[in-house]
Symmetry: C2
Subunit: 105 residues, 2 copies
């Protein structure tokens, strides 16, 4: 089995300081060793109807599920989640063991 | 600017042969050189209320936006999309230049 993924897509509330939140998330993952890699982006491409109002994606990778569990319960993550939750209008989370079909050359 | 991501989350219709579709997608990306990497998974972890019914995530990575555009218009992709669309009950697409904050060691 490969890596374990934590994927989040978000629509933020009107007027939220999104930059502060993404910077907070960058700080968070830099503090928590269990997070293997982290990348994020803001959709600037796809049709609004296909995005269903979601604008941001956050992708975290862990070596194994246990690392994800450790991340979830880390006090810094719990604290950040409270702040983050207050800023979002809609969110979908998906957590799963990843199947890598085509690896980067 | 970093890589370009094509991120899709899906809820399939009842009774759909999901294995056939994921195998079809694996075949598709193996045929199209523009796709740098591809991974996918089925959520077996998060709370249903947080998933909003979505069960599968598909993540494709391209070296640059132009490669994604080439993929989108590739005849094999167009053909597959028609088949795929018929099988889904709900879908969200996000396409974005990725900001890599924490790289795999």
């Amino acid at each position: 089995m490969g890596e374990f993924k934590h994927f989040v897509i978000v629509k933020f509330k009107e007027g939220v300081a999104v930059d502060d939140l993404t910077k907070g998330m960058e700080k968070l993952v830099s503090e928590i060793h269990a997070v293997k890699s982290f990348e994020w982006g803001q959709d600037i491409e796809s049709l609004d109807v296909l995005r269903q109002g979601f604008t941001h994606a956050f992708l975290m990778t862990f070596n194994k599920k246990e690392d994800f569990v450790a991340f979830q319960s880390h006090p810094n993550h719990v604290e950040f989640s409270t702040k983050f939750s207050a800023a979002i209008e809609n969110i979908v989370l998906l957590d799963f063991p990843s199947t890598l079909v085509k690896a980067p050359a």
